[in-house]
């Protein structure tokens, strides 16, 4: 039975740690390889032993696909490829390939240096892992082997994020990764064509939410910044070098312009270097429409935003500073934080998730006294604001994407089954598709009906056409032929040709039936009576009386004979070929009813 099998991996129901195994038409693909940030032990990795109990992963998996650079989608990749062992291809988009190793290295440093973890992947492992990566472009069909092909679609969300279509023959699966359907300031919204996959796999972490509008989130950010600088305070915004920082800068720049504000905004030098690199990646990645709005000016040449010098941190008066790294775990942002933390007029705005062990994580958990190096205790009096700018699809977004792709079935991962019944019903009702919600470790099996293309021989086609009736889209036509399956080829040919090719002789099947009639006349007269009788009844058929006395109806032969034992009885021999079975049976029963009386 042809089927598609999907198993989300990993232990527990927790969000994060995306890793999905898909089996389609004999091919095995792993989608994403995420790390769970909340755990410090093996629970942070997906349970790879599920994939295959014995045998090498490289032999079992045809490829691995990574949707984007967030650690809950790629964080376990070096562990998987270098420590568990996988040497096959790893597919991702170009920006993902560029940014992944940076994030992985950052994360490794925090885990090993800050938290002192053992059994973690090394810098060399990250490098070796990335050597196995094959980068792809959007909408480019990539042949993994001669049967399996993949294609990336724009997902919005973050730079380089893609949704992937995996196709084998006529069966296909689309995996969304993380995506958003409402356009971002610089990333736009996800888009897919009406590719009608057998299955659409979508993350459903935010499926039961209705998202606050982007305008209001931005407004909240602006308000916090404005209020702080108005009272003479300083605002620190720790950012990851590549990502939201640019968006927030554009926002502040617009606002400063409009309000004619003079408070200085700084961008740390570490950011500017990486920013150009990011800019280049970005400009080749986005679509025409978005690119046009940024070609007008270099994204990172701002009127009101200047490069930061560490000495400025001691300047009196209000200011806003964007500094790396994003989780306050080291470097410039931590230095500035230490200087400003003691003043309640100041504010730190954390724009994203912070890994356990970092200062960012501690203050977001509400800690106000931090132990720094040398047993120094830092009292945090400055205001701490946690803001989320990440773009995810909510319930409405998921419905929109399903509407665009038109899949036969939908599968939701990373949601709690109990809390998703309503969404399941909504999808099933609106789109008339099946909706699955497997738990981690549970396998969903989808039967498919693949279409198998077969060629029809020209001879057979011509013969059918010669019958005069043209093929009509709405009415099926019955066609007789022989299906020859050889290697992976299917051909429909006429019976004669099939026999010829197979070197077989054709046999004819002929039936004969005896009908006894009471008739005293000679057999020739009986035959004549039969002819007249049939001629009058069977108006639509060709009834003939042959010179040798026999009667034919189409290809059916009727002969009258006189058995020697009883001169008053005549025997009709009715014979027909297998093809004329129906007519033959009909004639036989007709004749059995007897002949009409002849006028004397």
């Amino acid at each position: 039975m042809p089927e598609i099998r999907v198993t989300p991996l990993g232990a527990g129901q927790d969000v994060g740690r995306s890793c999905i195994l898909v089996s389609i038409a004999g091919k095995n693909v792993m989608l994403d390889c995420g790390m769970h940030m909340g755990f410090s032990d093996d629970r942070r990795f997906p349970d790879f032993s599920y994939i295959t109990q014995s045998g090498r992963l490289t032999d079992f998996l045809d490829c691995v696909i990574i949707s984007h650079f967030h650690l809950d989608h790629c964080g376990a990749l070096p562990y998987f490829s270098e420590m568990v062992g996988y040497d096959g291809p790893i597919y991702m988009t170009h920006p993902t390939q560029a940014i992944c190793p940076i994030l992985l290295e950052d994360y490794r440093k925090i885990a090993v240096d800050k938290k002192g973890e053992a059994n973690f992947f090394t810098s060399q492992m990250i490098k070796d892992c990335m050597k196995k990566v094959v980068a792809v472009h959007l909408h480019q069909t990539v042949q993994v082997d001669d049967e399996l092909e993949i294609k990336a679609y724009y997902a919005g969300h973050v730079l380089g994020a893609a949704m992937f279509q995996i196709k084998v023959g006529s069966e296909s699966v689309v995996y969304t990764g993380d995506y958003n359907m409402t356009p971002d300031r610089h990333l736009g919204a996800a888009w897919i064509d009406k590719c009608r996959p057998n299955l659409l796999i979508t993350e459903s972490t935010y499926a039961t939410t209705i998202r606050d509008s982007k305008r209001c989130r931005e407004r909240d950010f602006l308000k916090k910044v404005h209020e702080t600088v108005e009272r003479g305070g300083k605002v620190l915004i720790p950012v990851f070098a590549l990502g939201r920082a640019q968006e927030l800068c554009i926002l502040l720049e617009t606002f400063w312009e409009r309000m004619n504000l003079k408070v200085p905004i700084y961008f740390s030098t570490g950011l500017t270097e990486k920013a150009n690199h990011y800019y280049k990646l970005f400009i080749t990645w986005t679509n025409q429409k978005i690119r046009k709005t940024f070609v007008q000016r270099n994204m990172f040449e701002f009127k009101h935003i200047k490069a930061f010098d560490r000495a400025f941190a001691d300047n009196p008066g209000p200011m806003v500073v964007f500094a790396t790294p994003g989780m306050l775990h080291a470097g410039q942002s931590l230095q500035i934080f230490r200087k400003w933390a003691g003043n309640e007029k100041n504010m730190v705005i954390m724009p994203g998730y912070c890994v356990q062990g970092t200062v960012g994580h501690k203050i977001l958990s509400g800690q106000r006294k931090l132990e720094m190096e040398g047993r120094q205790v830092l009292e945090v009096k400055m205001q701490v604001e946690y803001m989320s700018f990440s773009a995810h699809a909510d319930a409405k977004g998921i419905m929109q994407l399903v509407g665009q792709a038109e899949p036969e079935s939908v599968l939701l991962v990373h949601g709690e089954a109990k809390k998703m019944e309503f969404l399941k019903q909504k999808i099933e009702q609106e789109f008339r598709v099946d909706c699955y919600m497997p738990a981690n470790g549970e396998t969903v099996v989808l039967p498919t009906s693949p279409s198998i293309p077969g060629g029809i021989s020209l001879g057979l086609l011509k013969r059918e056409m010669a019958q005069g009736l043209l093929p009509e889209a709405k009415r099926p036509r019955l066609l007789h032929g022989t299906l020859i399956m050889k290697d992976s080829n299917f051909r429909l040919v006429s019976s004669e040709q099939a026999l010829k090719e197979l070197g077989l002789a054709e046999h004819q099947l002929r039936f004969t039936c005896r009908v006894h009639l009471h008739d005293t006349r000679k057999e020739q007269e009986t035959a004549m009576r039969v002819y007249s009788h049939l001629k009058s009844i069977l108006k639509d058929h060709c009834v003939q009386h042959l010179p040798d006395g026999s009667v034919t109806v189409e290809s059916i032969l009727i002969q009258a004979a006189a058995p020697s034992e009883d001169p008053a009885t005549k025997v009709l021999l009715v014979s027909w070929t297998y093809q004329d079975e129906e007519l033959g049976s009909y004639l036989t029963s007709l004749l059995k009813k007897g002949l009409p009386q002849a006028p004397s």
């Binding site: 935010y206 039961t208 939410t209 209705i210 998202r211 606050d212 509008s213 305008r215 209001c216 989130r217 931005e218 407004r219 909240d220 602006l222 308000k223 404005h226 617009t254 606002f255 409009r258 309000m259 977001l364 958990s365 509400g366 205001q383 701490v384 604001e385 946690y386 803001m387 989320s388 909510d394 319930a395 409405k396 419905m399 109990k418 809390k419 998703m420 019944e421 309503f422 969404l423 019903q425 909504k426 009702q429």
Partner: protein, 373 residues
């Protein structure tokens, strides 16, 4: 962003303490609280299945301390159900897991159940309504007690209370007056208030035969097509007050002890006439003295401080006007959105929720600019 929208957003920094904007999958005319953390909304489209949703407010709104540490600004869909009919009214039965909805087509009430072991809201039973009306739907209010009762009616003549569990009728108005009802409001275990579309108001004691304390109906000189009212009001003077709003922008304040003589009558500066008088709404602020809000004339919600009124009705200006639904119309619709309903947060004094015909839902905490002066 459109310049007008950008201007308004910048202006909003000064006008609002906090502001959230959401897009529902369908517009709602219902905003019904369940404790102070969740609301129900319901669709009212006529040709498709409508959703009834139980939404949990963003965490940021509910926490008392350390608000800054909660980045979540989203509504959570806690429960959802499907209705084949348009839903025009929804009431939650306190201390139960039941909801009662009223809508069209069909003149009956639908009872729903919200359970913990599933997120689907299920239809469980119906309550028949005395008269069969084609285009009018029964107004609903809940008598909450050990044995909850549903007060409903299309007209004064069809007013009755039905025990929810036994479905037995425990009270009927017993009058033949066929005046159409605009709203019903339960005041305590035995009394309720009614407002007719004509503006006629009354307070009824269910322990007695029909003998309500009533207003005189506004005469033919009133240009309003339709009226609505709410009993409530904290502040000056003892006891509750009644606010009555007409589709021509007239607003009357009445004392329950003397319903025939309004305490004050003013003309609100609204665009009249209301394009859909059925959407008229006036609500008293539960957490502020002498404040009420009105909507249903356009895409705005207006907040008034009635203590400043001198009874002469001149120069009345709203304390605050919420214009978010007009400026954040991101859908580029041809017709301007119309506010369909609004409600005050039960605990946060200046926080309101408002919904509009373009399926937008706003949560806003306005700044009282007088306080800074």
């Amino acid at each position: 962003m459109e310049p007008a929208e950008e201007d308004w957003l910048v202006e909003s920094l000064r006008l609002y303490q906090d502001f959230y904007a959401f897009d529902l999958s369908g517009a709602t005319r219902v905003l019904e609280w369940i404790d102070d953390k969740g609301v129900f909304v319901a669709g009212y489209e006529s040709l498709k299945k409508n959703e009834i949703l139980h939404l949990i407010l963003p965490l940021r709104l509910s926490v008392k301390e350390n608000q800054g540490l909660f980045p979540e600004r989203d509504f959570k869909v806690c429960h959802g159900g499907f209705s084949d009919r348009s839903v025009f009214d929804l009431k939650y039965v306190p201390d139960t897991s039941l909801l009662v909805t009223s809508g069209l087509p069909g003149c009956y009430l639908q009872v729903w159940q919200v359970t913990e072991d599933s997120d689907v809201i299920k239809a469980v039973s119906t309550i028949a309504v005395h008269e069969k009306e084609k285009s009018l739907w029964p107004r609903v209010a809940i008598f909450s007690s050990a044995a909850p009762g549903v007060l409903h009616g299309v007209r004064l003549s069809s007013l009755q209370v039905v025990d929810l569990e036994s479905q037995k009728t425990t009270y009927t108005s017993g009058v033949s007056d066929s005046e159409e009802l605009s709203s019903l409001q339960v005041l305590d275990a035995d009394t309720f208030a009614f407002c007719c579309t004509s503006g006629r108001l009354g307070l009824v004691d269910t322990r007695q035969k029909w003998a309500p304390l009533e207003t005189r109906s506004p005469g033919p000189e009133s240009s309003a097509l339709r009226w609505c009212a709410e009993v409530g009001g904290r502040g000056q003077g003892p006891g509750p007050r009644i606010a009555s709003l007409g589709s021509d922008g007239q607003l009357h304040l009445l004392d329950p002890r003397d319903l025939c003589h309004p305490v004050s009558s003013v003309q609100c500066p609204v665009s009249t006439p209301s394009p859909n008088p059925e959407l008229l709404q006036v609500t008293w602020a539960p957490g502020l003295d002498d404040c009420l809000a009105i909507s249903g004339f356009d895409g705005t919600v207006q907040v008034y401080d009635v203590s400043s009124w001198d009874g002469m009705g001149n120069g009345i200006e709203p304390l605050f006007t919420h214009r978010g639904h007009i400026f954040l119309d991101g859908k580029g619709m041809d017709t301007a959105p119309l506010v369909t309903t609004h409600t005050w947060h039960p605990c946060k004094p200046r926080t309101l929720l408002s919904a509009a015909s373009d399926a937008s839902l706003h949560v806003w905490d306005w700044v009282d600019l007088r306080a800074s002066q």
